[in-house]
């Protein structure tokens, strides 16, 4: 008689079973840092609206070891997010020119180039 | 035993079975259709067909030309009324598939593209890259999902036909998943269960091609036709028989022997054509039987290349270039690299002939009807016969469609002819007998023969004695051996006693089918004392149109060898002539 066997799958630790799942979870978890970092920006904006003293205090607070560490982690997470995001754009948005599809490498390359330009602008404006 | 009541039962959900099912559903949405298959429909072996399907569509082509190629290619053993019907319907069916979404390859203007194929005088083979059968099968399967009246019984193995009052009224089938037998009561049955190449060890055929459908009809008393005509495909990968489509040569691939000579010119298919400029019906574009025979000739002369997998010749496609190979023959490239470690873009590929297709099958008329009322057959398991003594590449896929549909229409005519009700009790008794046979097979514990052992002996026999060239004495040996194996089969042992998904049982049943078919092949071959198409005898080297312009019909006997009968070939327009494959001369 039929008695199909369903293999158990842990709802909370499934992603430990394969490297590709770990890579995926790492990518997903970047959002927590981006979330937190964006709130930091909102906080900075508040301090900015409160005048120079408040803003300087904010920058001061950033300089605490915790602040530095936080920024560092966010930076790493953000870079991981960017690369994982750009690498899959050709899948989500393929471009067909005439008969052929534009090779994925070119689309990814264009994104990286644009990323470099955008970063440069931000750095010039910020620094 | 559970009884499934239906109007029409179809055994087999490959190209032919699916086409029949759709035709039934379209003809009358109220019909109950049971589509029974031992594998999920898209696993059927139609998926392996690469090259394409022939049908007249371009303005430089004509029905007369397709007719001439097919009849000549079949060495005049084809029934010409069937061929006429076939070529008329072919373009309609291929267009119909296009309307159902089949991704046929296209010309720049958006019309369907055609490619050259062996034995065809004009480019007329519709193709979907080199996955034509795959796309046809999936298009049909997916289209069939539109029709709620098609009730599928996937992974059901048909075991016996139910015949009562002289007509076929259903079948029994084993639900593989549960091991339960089911009785299907139907007013008509269509068999579309595919070929039986697996009776040979070296074949392009998949594991499921075990001649079940042929054996079902045969055992139910309807004869098999022309079973001795077994097609070798000239270009198989030498290690595992994977097919490299004829499209390789259609696109311009050439064959060399070990000295780099285009040896086909030495076998009446020359003169040599320039590389990269294939000429239709010449050299590499000759028909399969001739090419496979030429290989045998080269092997006898010692001109073949020896490889770890036996003697080979070389198929060279390098001059086609990477771009064309990737566009037109992507699967071929993938298969060569994956399974042989050789890239056709960079090096010639060793190949050798491989068992590919059975021209013979269940004897049907042009209506796809068998001699048993209520039983119809289509596809590779049937023999109409349009393929005669040698099928032209790309005629088979079209045949599935044309005669799949034809079988459906004939089945409807049959059930509308006012049939009396079936005798439930008599059918049930037959079904029970069938169930008893299966459970006896399963429960037998004292057998001394193994499935694998008998199967190997059968394959070896077929390979050594019923190959490309045959002799009377070898065929006599083969007949004796197969008949012996059929006796020994009764003493088979089954180790697996589980009901759920018992593949041991399936293999035992399949072996039974193959042995029955193999006997029809060997007996038919022994008695056909001539050389015609794929049946070449070293002791009777000429075609004998006086005595043997006839179909072989073999009739089943449970214990003895089959009774052989002959039936005249239907000739309408074309008298037997010379098969000429040296078109470049003109």
């Amino acid at each position: 008689m039929n008695k199909p066997y369903v293999r158990p799958l842990s709802k909370t630790s499934w992603f430990l079973t394969q490297t590709r799942y770990k890579r995926y979870m790492a990518r997903e978890v970047t959002c927590l840092f981006i979330f937190a970092y964006t709130f930091l920006l909102v906080w900075g904006l508040k301090r900015l609206s409160e005048g120079p003293d408040a803003f300087n205090a904010f920058v001061q607070a950033l300089g605490s070891p915790l602040g530095v560490l936080f920024n560092l982690v966010v930076l790493i997470a953000a870079v991981y997010h960017s690369t994982s995001w750009f690498n899959v754009t050709p899948q989500a948005m393929p471009i067909q020119r005439g008969e052929e599809f534009v090779p994925g490498k070119i689309i990814v390359g264009a994104h990286y180039a644009l990323w470099a330009v955008a970063s440069l602008i931000v750095l010039v404006l910020g620094v | 035993m559970e009884i499934v009541k239906t109007d029409i039962a179809i055994i087999g959900a490959g190209g032919a079975g699916l086409r029949a099912a759709i035709a039934l559903a379209e003809a009358d949405p109220k019909l109950r259709i049971a589509l029974i298959s031992k594998v999920y429909p898209m696993r059927s072996h139609t998926c392996a067909a690469e090259g394409g399907a022939a049908g007249v569509i371009k303005s430089d082509d004509s029905m007369a030309l397709h007719f001439g190629d097919t009849v000549g290619g079949g060495d005049w053993l084809s029934d010409q009324d069937a061929v006429e019907y076939f070529i008329q319907e072919a373009p309609k069916e291929l267009t119909q598939l296009e309307h159902w979404g089949c991704p046929w390859s296209r010309e720049p203007d958006g019309s369907v593209a055609v490619r050259p194929f062996g034995g065809m005088k004009i480019k007329r083979t519709w193709f979907a890259a080199d996955k034509s059968g795959f796309h046809i099968l999936h298009t049909l399967f997916q289209t069939s999902l539109k029709y709620p009246s098609i009730q599928r019984f996937d992974e059901y193995y048909a075991t016996d036909l139910l015949v009562e009052d002289g007509r076929c009224q259903g079948l029994t089938a084993l639900e593989i998943r549960s091991g339960q037998m089911k009785q299907f009561q139907a007013k008509a049955v269509i068999i579309a269960a595919g070929g039986g190449g697996k009776m040979f060890p070296f074949t392009t055929n998949g594991n499921i091609k075990t001649g079940d459908g042929m054996a079902l009809a045969y055992r139910a008393g309807t004869p098999l036709k022309d079973m001795e005509f077994v097609q070798y495909h000239p270009t198989g990968l030498p290690n595992n028989g994977i097919l490299l489509t004829e499209g390789c040569r259609g696109e311009g691939g050439v064959l060399f022997n070990k000295d780099g000579r285009r040896y086909l010119q030495d076998y009446g298919m020359g003169p040599e054509t320039p590389i990269g400029q294939p000429v239709l019906k010449t050299m590499e574009l000759g028909p399969r039987d001739r090419l496979s025979q030429a290989f045998w000739g080269e092997q006898k002369k010692g001109n073949t290349v020896s490889t770890p997998w036996g003697d080979c010749v070389l198929l060279d496609m390098r001059h086609l270039g990477e771009k064309k190979i990737d566009e037109r023959l992507p699967l071929v490239r993938d298969l060569c690299i994956s399974y042989l470690g050789k890239d056709p873009v960079k090096e010639p590929i060793p190949i050798r002939p491989v068992v590919h297709y059975m021209m013979g099958g269940i004897h049907t008329d042009t209506r796809a009807a068998t001699r048993l009322p209520g039983l119809f057959a289509a596809g590779e398991c049937a023999c109409v016969s349009i393929n005669g003594a040698n099928r032209l590449g790309s005629n088979s896929l079209t045949e599935l469609l044309v005669f799949g549909k034809r079988a459906a229409l004939s089945a409807i005519e049959h059930i509308q002819s006012g049939l009396p009700d079936g005798k439930g009790a008599a059918l049930a008794a037959q079904a029970q007998a069938s169930e008893a046979r299966i459970s006896a097979l399963m429960n037998k514990s004292n057998g001394t023969e193994t499935i694998a052992g008998l199967r190997k002996e059968m394959m070896d026999t077929m390979e050594t004695n019923v190959g490309i060239y045959r002799t009377g004495s070898e065929l006599a040996t083969a007949c004796d051996k197969i008949s012996e194996l059929r006796q020994r089969y009764a003493n088979i042992a089954l180790h697996d006693k589980t009901h759920v998904y018992n593949t041991d049982l399936m293999q035992a049943l399949e072996l039974g089918s193959m042995l029955d078919c193999a006997e029809a092949v060997t007996v038919g071959a022994r008695d056909r004392k001539e050389s015609r198409g794929a049946h070449q005898r070293l002791d009777f080297t000429e075609r004998d149109d006086v005595n043997l312009l006839k179909h072989t019909l073999t009739h089943y006997h449970p214990t003895d060898p089959p009774r052989v009968e002959y039936l005249d070939v239907v000739i309408t327009q074309s008298q037997p002539g010379v098969r000429d494959y040296s078109g470049a001369k003109k």
Binding site: E28 | V39, R43, T95, F134
Partner: protein
Amino acid sequence: MSERQIQLEVLRYNPETDSEPRYQTYSVPCMNEWVVLDALNYVKEHLDPTLSYRWSCHMAVCGSCGMMINGEPKLACKAFIHEYTDQIRVDPMANFPIERDLVTSVEDFIAKLASVKPYLIPKEDKPISAGEFKQTPAELKKFKQYTLCINCMLCYAACPQYGLVPEFLGPAAISMAHRYNQDSRDGGRDQRQEVIATDTGVWECSFVGACSEVCPKHVDPAGALQQVKVASTIDWYKEHLMPWMKK
């Protein structure tokens, strides 16, 4: 043609005698050019006729021999022995119930495939006698890749979201809907959206991408699903922010 002795560790499950699956190891002399399927066939012929698994074509086109080989979803007929060490573990496809040994129940997938209307719903009616629909090579290329799916279900075995939420329509079914949506002859997208643009349709996918990594035919279902998301999102914004654009 060298020979190697391989330890083939196979997950066995007999529903009539076992309460749960167990591994059984077979020692198989393998030719180096073999695939794992050849090794299984060796076991079936010479060592243990009771081992059950599906296969047919032996050329990676029928889609029946999907299984987990060393934990990775693979076609057994395209898993080359020479790419493995002498110890190979074979499991039935993940995320599907085991019917017996390496045979899984796949009804769920078949039903899902059927549910997305995977057939041409023509834009315009055209009798057969009027000939074929025209379609340029560029229009063909637009969807060709998605027609290559052999329904092997390896993508389902790889997709954790399908494992976690069995109602998910899954990669191959949605890719097949996308295939028809992208076909220049088709006009059935609205009907298919009703099925695929749902919570258990494309929106259950979180773009893990495993499906495309394991797909033996390079269908790239992950890409198809993201494209469906983009298109569905554009639909939504058009419908709600620009209601006048509605047909």
